[in-house]
Symmetry: C2
Subunit: 335 residues, 2 copies
């Protein structure tokens, strides 16, 4: 592979002239540029990216770490972030961890190699978040800024972008009440995360403000393998509930099918609101009212915050911003 030195020797111009010519510098005459570029093309000159970046002392790669790309919300975030980074001249390196905290740590550890100018992360569900906090701190000490989005942690201080989770369930309850519902269940698969707790609180407070007694049995914090179906079936058939707020996409679809199979009507007997606004919700019959989280905007805003940090190199560990993304309730047939 030819380098600048080779071109220099072959054309008789100095290395610096060659370098300048290839970078279209104004200093170099048109004629010289033509000669040098022609020769460069002839020998298939490819700049050495690493040498160039080393000399310029700039890193143009950023990273994003996502639990699962098969989740429609994260897909949208990725799209929004990619666009924002690309438009600002950054290349986006993408990592998925399949909800595995150990893989998440492995990835972050690897990134101590300094290949990235900054990192966007949405955390995997993790029973020991301290481990992650420790690594993130190390990365911060390396002057690598972190921006957390959606699945944030309270322990680690950095820029954060998330939805107003309290408000989201609060609004859901209000909406259902306005539709005449009073026995509203909350099904949560992420009850032990920060997000889950905020949503739970929003639910409880909304009931309170609507003067509806909180019924402990209508709050269903799920763990994997729990017998959701039988539980819900019982509640439905006993007419203990007339609405469900469901926080995760797959479960929402499962509930939807379940209720129809029992022979109940949606929304007449049981109304449903789902989170995430997966395209499925629109196409399924009856379509499902959902909380849209504006994934693309999430990605765009998170990327912006990170770029800000990268470009204002000083003070990586101060004045953290927390942005709450507005959400939208999309009204459909299920409520």
């Amino acid at each position: 592979m030819a380098n600048i030195n080779d071109i220099s020797k072959a054309t008789g111009f100095s290395k610096s002239t060659v370098s300048k010519a290839l970078n279209n510098s104004q200093e170099i005459s048109k004629k010289t540029k033509t000669i040098i570029k022609a020769y460069a093309k002839k020998v298939n000159f490819k700049p050495n990216y690493y040498a160039s970046q080393l000399r310029k002392n700039e890193i143009k790669n950023v990273g994003i770490i996502i639990p699962s790309i098969l989740n429609n919300f994260f897909t949208k975030v990725l799209k929004g972030a990619q666009k924002e980074f690309y438009d600002s001249g950054y290349d986006l390196v993408t990592y998925f961890n399949e909800e595995s905290p150990s893989k998440e740590m492995q990835i972050l550890n690897k990134l101590k190699n300094g290949s990235l100018a900054g990192i966007l992360i949405s955390l995997a569900k993790n029973p020991f978040p301290e481990n992650i906090t420790k690594i993130l701190l190390e990365l911060n000490n390396f002057n690598i800024p972190i921006v957390m989005f959606d699945r944030i942690s309270k322990e680690f201080k950095c820029d954060k972008v998330y939805i107003d989770n309290f408000q989201s369930t609060f609004e859901c309850v209000k909406h259902l009440v306005s539709r005449g519902k009073k026995k509203i269940a909350l099904v949560s698969q992420i009850h032990d995360t920060l997000i889950g707790k905020d949503r739970y609180n929003g639910y409880v407070e909304a009931l309170k403000s609507e003067k509806i007694n909180f019924d402990k049995e209508l709050y269903l914090p799920l763990d994997i393998g729990d017998a959701l179906e039988s539980e819900i079936t019982k509640l439905c058939l006993n007419k203990r509930i007339d609405a469900i707020i469901s926080i995760e996409q797959q479960t929402t679809v499962a509930l939807h099918n379940l209720i129809l199979n029992i022979g109940l009507k949606i929304p007449k007997d049981i109304a449903i609101i789902g989170f995430t606004n997966d395209p499925i919700f629109k196409h399924i019959k009856p379509s499902i009212t959902s909380m849209d989280q504006h994934g693309e905007y999430f990605g765009k805003l998170s990327a912006k915050l990170l770029i800000d940090r990268i470009q204002n190199k000083t003070e990586i560990k101060k004045d953290f911003r927390e942005e709450k993304i507005p959400f939208s309730l999309i009204h459909r047939e299920s409520s």
Copy 2:
């Protein structure tokens, strides 16, 4: 930011000793390593990735260029490719072009900067594919290998991974005939691509082998803005068709709704087979029989081919492999 030189001065060891210690070389005594590492940690030493890669003369980044990430097939491909690359020590830089040929060219042009060791690409729909071929050739001349998947081009020679498109529609027709259908329409949005043509041919040949006359009016090559709905409605109501093979996800869902709205039964009056196996197909009622393209395997295999090329640096432009991915017809209620 501290570098190896700083550590060398502060600890009294030479630069080379420091470098070796930080890289855990066997040459260095345990004691020395401890001292050096402790000091490195203290001053938050971060290796300069670019200097390191320059010296080692290796590129560990690869790229993938995809038309749209909101397409479930490409999402799966991305997942499969990411995993394969990660497991082999490569980082994946991700680009989306939103089906814009000019953006696709912009991205490829940018990649002449040599930042990547190789590129995976699925082409955007493009009226002037020669332009892309030209840039891809340049990249090849730079010794950057290209692997095309799914949306390949015939003009450019490289490793390719694609589905057996001829066979796919061939199988569809066979299946529909086995269900008693004889008036089978083919709706295609990609009729002017290679894929579209192969699928058309598979459809025609299958009809022939089933001794069904090819009816020109049942082949519906669509362009954006075409009046698909009225066309299909007419065909359905006139009983000109009893089955539809639909090649794109969104259109498939639209057709599904349309047919139900007309008041016809699926599959009794009109059977449907859709391509891509979007999760929607499973959840919609009645669920849609579909051609699964094995997206993750697509990604995995494409990544493997690219890694092969990168690691056998000689002969980037020879012995191209073409891999046909097996597809699967997923039987559901719509047929």
